[in-house]
Structure formats: C-alpha cells, structure tokens
C-alpha cells in the first residue's frame, strides 16, 4: 500500500471534513467531478453539501471564503491552478491579509494553490506564487515537499487562525509516494534538515527539495562532497534559526527555488543569511532559480527552464570552488 502526495491532500481534507463541522470545500469542479487533479475525489458524496462547486470566479471564491471564515467557518478553497490566484490577488492580500491588523478579527481561510510546473503545462499552468504572497503581511505561506507534510500541514493550515496559502506542487502529485503518513509532523513554520552534510547547504522548498537531494547524492558519489539539504517547508515565516544553524555547519549557501529569479524566496534567504550570518560564510551566498522568462510549454524547454540535478550540480561546484 502506498500513498501519493495528492492522496495525502485528499486524505487530509477527508479527515478535516469528518472531524470539524466548520470545514467546507469551495472551488471549481471539486464536487462530483472530484477536482481537476482529483484532490477532492469522493468527498462530495461522503460529505453532502460541504464540497461546493464554484463559478469560475477566483475573486468571489476567496471573497466568499473570507466572509464564511468571519462567520466561524474554516473554508478550504481550491484554486485549480496557482496561476489563477492572480485573479483573486486583491481578496487575498488586501482583504484577507489586512483584516486581522485592521479589525482584530482574523480570517482563518486555507487557499490551496496547485503550484509549479509539469512538462507541457506552459506559462499559465506552471507558476509558483509563494513569493508574491509572502511579500504581503498577514499571510502564512507553506510549501510541503513530502507526502507526510502534505497531509499534516494541510491539517495544521486549517487550524491556524490566519489565512494560509498552501502551495502544493503538481509535479509531486503522483510522482511522490510514501508507504504511509508518518507521525504528527513538524509544526508549520519549522524547517527540516532533509539530508545532513558538512560542505555546503542547499536551502530550498517544495519540489526542488527532491532535485536538491538528487544533486547532493550525485556530488557525494562523484566527488565526496557532503551537501546538506534544508527543506524550508514554510516560506513565510522563514525559520532562520534552522537555516543559520545549517550555514554555521557548512559555511556555504545555495538558495534554490523553482520560481522566477527576480526577488522572491531565494533572494530573501540569501540576503538574510548575508546580513545575519555573514561571519558564518566561507563563500558569497549563491542563488539559483528558474530562468527569467514565462514558463515554457515544450517539455525540453521546460526541463531546461527550471533547475535540474545537473544544473544544480554546476551551481554547487561553482560554490564549492570559491
């Protein structure tokens, strides 16, 4: 018996609906159809009236979730594709993000963003929005990279009283499998050392955790380098304690992400390590992201657009040779 990443998301929603009467699901095609990625398959039948198809209206979907959360509910909104959340940007950052600070009343919504690229998806079904939402005060932004985190972090996201942007990676949906879901999981906000090492740290999140581990395995096999991989798990707030402790052990930082290079999570990590941990560094902190173009359609272009184990190894060799 194995469970995939998308199964874990479905199971978490099943448990939430079962255990918490405040929870309901709202999104496009999520009811009888079970969602574009089947993350809600069977839930409409199991929980009649609590898994609701929405019109194609991302702005209204988030607005309605905000209203429902103010009335005591714990809505989970599926965005179908993270890219489409740009239509709901106003409700997310201005309505949900400002509400607690302005009024003292929090907005406990969970927004599921099917994020990141898969081969052949093209520019409008591949984007990573975590940096955009992290920029705005008031939001929690999580980026689970494992099957267990996908499960536990969704349960926790719904418990958090503030808006949580839950960035699930589409590439991991069926590619990532586990034998079972482990334990209770680390809390939201805590990073994890996925792979210990001593010569350099790769600080990353979401699907790139797996590419980083492959690159680290390859470097160890080929050259004996021991690379530590830190999975941020949550990009807002950043667990700088864990990041700085890793850099203290290794002296070198590669901040890795699938999102566009300008600004963003890797920029934040690199600048904070430079500012707060300059004395720990033996080399300038390095960033590695996708290319600064829209995400291309053709699988060959796509594969070269985002960091791969090969290109991560190149970046790491540069960092290690400084």
């Amino acid at each position: 018996m194995s469970i995939t990443y998308v199964d874990a998301i479905r199971e978490a929603q099943d448990k939430l609906l079962r255990d918490d009467p405040r929870v309901f699901l709202y999104g496009q095609d999520i009811s009888r159809f079970g969602g574009a990625f089947k993350a809600t398959k069977g839930l409409a039948e199991a929980y009649p009236g609590r898994v609701l198809d929405s019109p194609i209206s991302e702005d209204a979907m988030i607005g309605m979730a905000i209203g429902a959360s103010l009335d005591g509910m714990r809505p989970i909104v599926e965005m179908q594709f993270a890219d489409f959340s740009s239509v709901a940007f106003n409700q997310i950052v201005n309505q949900a993000g400002t509400h607690f600070y302005r009024t003292g009343v929090p907005v406990p919504i969970t927004v599921r963003l099917p994020s990141g690229g898969t081969p052949g998806s093209g520019p409008f079904h591949s984007q990573s929005m975590e940096a955009i939402y992290s920029h705005y005060p008031g939001l929690v932004v999580v980026t689970p990279a494992t099957v267990s985190d996908a499960y536990h972090m969704l349960l926790q996201a719904v418990e958090v009283d503030d808006p949580v942007i839950y960035c699930e990676h589409k590439f991991l949906y069926r590619w990532l499998k586990a034998n079972s879901i482990n334990g209770d999981g680390l809390p939201i906000g805590k990073a994890r050392i996925t792979r210990p090492g001593k010569h350099a740290s790769i600080v990353t999140y979401s699907a790139m955790v797996h590419e980083a581990v492959r690159a680290a395995d390859r470097l160890q096999e080929e050259s004996g380098w021991e690379i530590e991989v830190v999975d941020l798990r949550t990009v807002k707030p950043l667990d700088m304690d864990t990041v700085l402790a890793s850099v203290a052990r290794t002296g070198r930082l590669l901040a890795l992400g699938e999102a566009f290079p300008w600004g963003g999570v890797t920029a934040e990590v690199a600048s904070r390590v430079a500012a707060e941990g300059f004395h720990l560094l033996d080399a300038p902190p390095k960033r590695f992201n996708s290319r600064d173009t829209p995400v291309p359609y053709h699988p060959k272009l796509w594969a070269a657009h985002r960091p791969t184990p090969e290109s991560i190894c190149v970046a790491m060799r540069e960092l290690l040779s400084y």
Binding site: F24, G49, R50, S54, P55, S57, E58, D59, A60, M61, I62, G63, M64, A65, I66, G67, A68, S69, L70, D71, G72, M73, P75, V87, N90, Q91, N94, Q95, G97, T98, H99, F100, Y101, R102, T103, G104, V105, P106, P137, G138, L139, V140, V160, D161, D162, P187, I188, G189, K190, T234, P237, L238, D239, M240, D241, R272
Partner: protein
C-alpha cells in the same frame, strides 16, 4: 411581491420612518461637523460625505437587524451605519485617530467595521465586499442559520464596472443567497460620468444578466426609498433570492472633501436629481404625520448635542502609540519558531 411575503411581520411604518429619518439627521450632522474639522486640518486622511444619499443608505441600514443581519457599507453610508446601529463613537474615534476606536488607529475613516457584530469593514477596492457578504450568508446556510437573515451591501455606479461586483453577485445568484445590493447611481464615479462608465441602458440591466431581481427607486424620495429598499429586504428575507436596487440620485458633495466637484454641471444640480433628500424627507415626515415640525427640530438639537459629545469624547482619547503597538499582522504565534 411573492406570495410568502405575507409571512413577514408588518413593520410599524411610522416608527420605522422615524427611526430611519433620525439616522439620516444624525449622519448629516455628523458629517457636516467632520467636514468642517477636515477643512480646519483636524482630521488626517480624507472625509467622504454621504450628502444626498442618506435616504437610500439609511433605508437599507435601517431595514437590517444588528446582531443577526450582515451589512457591508461603502464610502457614503454613514446614514446606513447609523440606521443599522453603529455607535457614533466608532465614527468619531476612527476619524479622529483615537486608539479606543474599533480600528485602533490602524485604519481610517470609512474602512471601520465590527465584523463579529455583522458590520463588515470595507477595503478601498470597489466591489470587494459583494462576495464577502455572500460568503457570510453561505456560511449561515451551511450552519443551518440562514432563515430570516439578510446580507446587504452598497456600491456606486462605478463599482458595478468591477469584476468583484460581477463575480460576487453572480455567485450569490447561483447560490440564491438572501443578499441585497443597493447601487447608488450618483451619476459620477469620482469625476467620470455614467456615459464613460457603462454602456448598458440602465444599471438595472445588470440584475437581469445575473438572474437577480431588480428594482429602481428615486433616491431623493425618502418614502420611495423606504418602500422599495424595504421591499427588497423583505423579499430577500423571505427566500426570494438576491435583490438589486438601483437608486437614481446625485452626490451633493465632491468625491471627498478634497474635491470641489466642479465637473458636475449646474443643470444637473438644478434638476430633479439635485433635490436634497433630507429636505424631501423632512417634508414627507410632516405631510404623512409621521412627525411634527417641532419634533424634527427637537431631534435636530438632540442629534447636534450627541455629535458634539461624540467628537469631544474622541478628541480627549489617546492616539495610538507606536511604542506600544504590537506590529503583528497575524493573530497566530507559530510555536517553536523564532519568527523572521
């Protein structure tokens, strides 16, 4: 009127009109005072008057029940806020920057609200409240608490051009939620006239497109507003689905007190839309025998005193203190993590 409207308790028309009219008086007096304080440099940020729109706004707010119904007022809805039951101090404290106000100095003027009590806090992005009201109503339905509840919001002619307005009204219509959207067509979106704002013949056409029941009202006519907006509230409450009311009127002030509204043609001001709903309402109150001239004059004095007291109270209260501010945009402390 639908057949089941008979089930709605008949309001005491006289008492209701007196309550709504008094809220209009309160809003006008309060805003006149705030405007003069703004011009004297005593208020930070803008002051936005509902002058000329009080009859529409108060008819909506006054038809709702504080504590059970939901109201998302917009810029020009001081009268609706007063009629709904907002404490006047919430207004003066917010405008004057008292730390004791509902927004604690963190947000200003018209953005204030008490979401837990059903008075939603607006953001400046027009149309954004429409889906939020719908969401509260959807939540009530899921909790089995929707019966007899109404959610209401206001918007201007310009706001009906936004995607949020369309998406929110469409979603509310799909769910057949008891929502009332009142459109104050005051002829100008800031300075942009209707003919540069929309190309449909009448804003009521929008209601048809959404599958929403629509009605029109002369926004300068107090009794007409009470009847038409009250009717829409009653229909929504009794299960007839979302309602949209379009009120024809003219904004009798600038967009804000920083704006002299020189773009409004004199001819429009001199016409029927330029009537002051407050004067019309006073005359109608007397004509119908709902109030005497003496009563109205007494109310005016009472309201003036209340406004003076609210302003004096807020003025004496401490402003927010940057050193004591929690500077926390989230309510949740994420344990085991040093937040960065």
């Amino acid at each position: 009127m639908p057949a089941d409207a008979d089930a709605t308790p008949v309001r005491d028309e006289r008492e209701h009109a007196r309550k709504v009219f008094r809220a209009m008086l309160e809003a006008r007096q309060l805003e006149t005072k705030l405007s003069s304080m703004y011009k004297a440099g005593k208020i930070v940020g803008g002051v936005y008057l509902g002058k000329g729109q009080e009859a529409v706004s108060a008819s909506l707010g006054g038809g709702l029940n504080w504590g059970t119904d939901v109201f998302a007022p917009l810029i020009r809805d001081q009268a609706g806020r007063s009629a709904f039951g907002e404490d006047m101090l919430d207004c003066t404290r917010t405008y004057l920057g008292s730390s004791l106000g509902p927004m604690h100095g963190r947000d200003g003027n018209i953005h204030r609200g008490r979401p837990k009590e059903g008075l939603l806090a607006m953001i400046s992005h027009l149309g954004a409240s429409v889906p939020v009201v719908a969401g509260v109503l959807l939540s009530r339905r899921l909790q089995g608490k929707l019966d007899g509840v109404v959610g209401a919001t206001c918007i201007g002619d310009g706001g009906t051009s936004t995607g949020a307005f369309h998406e929110g009204l469409n979603a509310a219509a799909v769910e057949r939620l008891p929502m009332v959207v009142v459109v104050a067509n005051n002829q100008f979106a800031y300075s942009t006239p209707n003919d540069r704002q929309f190309a449909c013949g009448d804003l009521l056409d929008r209601a048809v497109g959404y599958g929403v029941e629509g009605s029109s009202v002369d926004g300068t006519d107090f009794l007409d507003c009470l009847r038409v907006i009250g009717g829409a509230i009653d229909r929504a409450r009794s299960g007839a689905g979302p309602q949209m009311v379009v009120a024809r009127l003219l904004r009798l002030s600038g967009h804000g007190e920083h704006d002299d509204a020189s773009y409004v043609p004199d001819k429009l001001r001199a016409g029927g839309l330029g009537r002051d709903c407050m004067q019309v309402a006073a005359a109608q109150m007397i004509e119908t025998g709902y109030a005497t001239e003496g009563e109205i004059s007494d109310w005016q004095t009472e309201v003036e005193d209340a406004v003076q007291l609210a302003i004096a109270t807020a003025q004496q209260e401490p402003p927010p203190d940057p050193w004591k501010e929690r500077w926390d945009a989230r309510s949740t402390k994420l344990s085991m993590v040093t937040e960065a």
